[in-house]
């Protein structure tokens, strides 16, 4: 390295500017009425679930824990929309010109908006924390239907999935803005994203979808057929009896190890989506680091789930 290259001024803004930009985006996210509306919607679902005894009374399918993250649905939608809107500040073109003439590049602006995903994630954490407290006050979460019931306190790990999903949703909103530079298209994509999560989440109860879902619970369901033996039923922590949606019995197990690895997978997806958004915002060597870390986590999380799952992978049968 020559003296000239050592002394060459950096071609990007300093860390202090990036920090100031991140603080600005965090403040804007905290003040977002849309995010607070999403939080209110999530709180309303928690109240509904709590009043309904959704997690504290026995049920046939094990949805008690499967639906653990369901209340953050409104936050999933609003986090996507708010992040999408923030990333689309450089629309229409005159705004892009104005922003392009400032020292901070699109890459730094995108990075700051991505960092602001922390705000809806914390909101989701608080909402689900409240749900945890309500369940604990109600005597714990009930898994399965009588007489094959198990009662357990929610684990701290199970508090992470919802916030991570919401953060992933915000990151997806930023990526959508970098791929389709239209607020209308962003709103449509946000709705579809939310609909897949909120209306289709039962799909993710079962393998192989559960492994690659952005949200699943720690409950692993195993199809036991219409006439399981007592040995089959007792091999699981709890069991669900046949119902409207599932014709057979389900063996239900809380598998926190594979759930933890699933969170690693979701974290990897989030990082990979963030890397794509950054890549669409200009060249920077740090993008590769984020992308590589994301891919490693995706592979590690997916393979780890396959290796550690304490059940067979024939979960499609109940569908």
């Amino acid at each position: 390295m020559t003296a000239a290259t050592r002394l060459a001024p950096p071609a990007v803004v300093g860390a202090a500017t990036v920090r100031a930009l991140v603080r600005t985006e965090l403040r804007r996210a905290v003040r977002s009425r849309l995010l607070w509306a999403g939080t209110a919607g999530s709180v309303a679902i928690v109240c509904w679930f709590t009043a309904d005894g959704a997690f504290t009374e026995p049920g046939p399918y094990g949805e008690h824990l499967a639906a653990w993250d369901f209340p953050v649905g409104p936050l999933v939608l609003t986090a996507f929309l708010v992040a999408n809107g923030a990333a689309l500040r450089d629309r229409p073109p005159p705004a892009a010109e104005l922003l392009a003439s400032t020292p901070a590049r699109s890459w730094e602006r995108t990075g700051a908006v991505l960092a602001a995903a922390l705000v809806p994630a914390v909101m989701a954490l608080l909402v689900l924390g409240g749900q945890d407290l309500a369940v604990l006050a109600g005597g714990g979460a009930v898994l399965g239907s009588a007489p094959w019931v198990r009662v357990a306190d929610p684990a701290l790990l199970e508090l992470v999935g919802g916030p991570l999903l919401v953060a992933c949703s915000a990151v997806a909103g930023v990526l959508a803005a970098r791929l389709v530079r239209s607020r209308t298209a962003g709103a449509v994509l946000g709705f579809l994203w939310w609909a897949v999560f909120s209306f289709d989440f039962y799909t993710f109860l079962y393998a192989p979808f559960g492994l690659v879902a952005l949200s699943r619970s720690s409950v692993v369901a195993t199809d036991l057929g219409g006439t399981p033996s007592a040995v089959q039923l007792s091999a699981h922590q709890a069991a669900g009896s046949p119902g409207d949606l599932v014709p057979g019995y389900l063996g239900l197990d809380r598998d926190l190890t594979s759930y933890g690895l699933h969170l690693v997978f979701v974290l990897g997806v989030t990082a990979a989506l963030a890397a794509l958004a950054l890549r669409r915002s200009g060249r920077d060597p740090r993008t590769r680091v984020v992308g590589a870390a994301g891919l490693v986590l995706v592979v590690a999380g997916f393979v780890g789930q396959l290796v550690t799952l304490s059940t067979d992978l024939g979960w499609l049968d109940p569908l």
């Binding site: 071609a11 804007r28 229409p92 005159p94 020292p103």
Partner: protein, 287 residues
């Protein structure tokens, strides 16, 4: 005096349309007006100077740096204030929040100092009392002033203003002129406008673009002198005139080649501009 901006043989095309062709010019400290009809390439030129657009040919030097490389571009942007042609969207921001956001992008990291600077520029453009009004609730002229305010952040060495007086009422245009007059003398200002009276009032130097080419570059008085002896009043449009229009007094003012014995009038920069960019064909009229 050293040039703040130097363009040499710069060109730019958009989808087969030539926006700029072989543009060479030097901008010195002080205010330079950029005149030209619609589609002349003014905005393209300003975007290139503001580093928001790359030229396709020729060389550009801004504040002693090459905008073609990342370090040069950053160095330029640190000393640049830019007001694009249309007010930026940012409708949901308050005026203060918007200018503060741009200040962050301009590397003003100390919050207290940044807020003081934001208040200063909003006061300069006369919006101190509307700082916390959302931009969507401001009039078009006020939005323009918010845009001007962000361009003034940090006392830039180069101000690039695309039609800054568009939508401003007469009082605000005077205020704008005062602000420009109050800038340090070593600040280089390049402003495009359709209003020749702005150029006459503000700009010691002027560049005229027409169909992507520089057709005039020099003092404003030199632009006016192009029309010396070529402006005359008559009772009716003169077929010898390149352009004609009715004055407030009800006479017809003609610019072009006067007939013998014509009632000659003093020439201004607008007359010189019309001669450069008007139809050029005697007999055609602009009313």
């Amino acid at each position: 005096m050293t040039s703040t901006v130097t363009l040499d043989g710069v060109g730019k095309r958009f989808r087969g349309t030539t926006a700029l062709q072989d543009v060479s010019l030097d901008l010195l400290p002080g205010v330079t007006g950029l005149l030209g009809p619609n589609g002349a390439g003014k905005t393209t030129l300003l975007r290139i100077v503001a580093t928001a657009l790359s030229p396709e040919g020729g060389s550009v030097q801004v504040l002693g740096c090459d905008p073609g490389d990342a370090a040069g571009r950053l160095a330029i942007r640190r000393r640049l204030g830019y007001l694009p042609q249309e007010p930026a969207a940012f409708a949901g921001f308050t005026a203060f929040a918007f200018v503060d956001y741009v200040a962050v992008l301009k590397e003003m990291t100390d919050r207290a100092a940044r807020h003081a600077e934001v208040r200063r520029v909003l006061d300069v453009v006369g919006l101190g009392d509307r700082a916390h009004t959302r931009i969507r609730a401001l009039s078009g002229g006020m939005r323009r002033r918010v845009g001007f305010a962000q361009a003034l952040l940090g006392h830039p060495d180069l101000l690039v203003l695309d039609e800054p007086t568009a939508g401003l009422d007469p009082e605000q245009r005077l205020r704008f002129r005062e602000v420009l007059a109050g800038l340090p003398p070593d600040t280089c200002v390049l402003l495009s406008t359709h209003l020749t009276e702005d150029v006459a009032a503000l700009c010691p130097r002027v560049v005229v673009l027409d169909r992507g080419r520089v057709v005039f570059q020099g003092d404003t008085t030199a632009l006016a002198s192009l029309a010396d002896g070529r402006v005359w009043d008559a009772a009716a449009p003169d077929p010898h005139a390149a352009v004609s229009w009715r004055t407030a007094e009800g006479r017809i003012r003609n610019v072009g080649t006067p007939p013998p014995g014509a009632d000659l009038r003093p020439a201004g920069p607008d007359h010189g501009y019309l001669l450069l960019t008007g139809s050029g064909a005697p007999g055609e009229q602009v009313r």
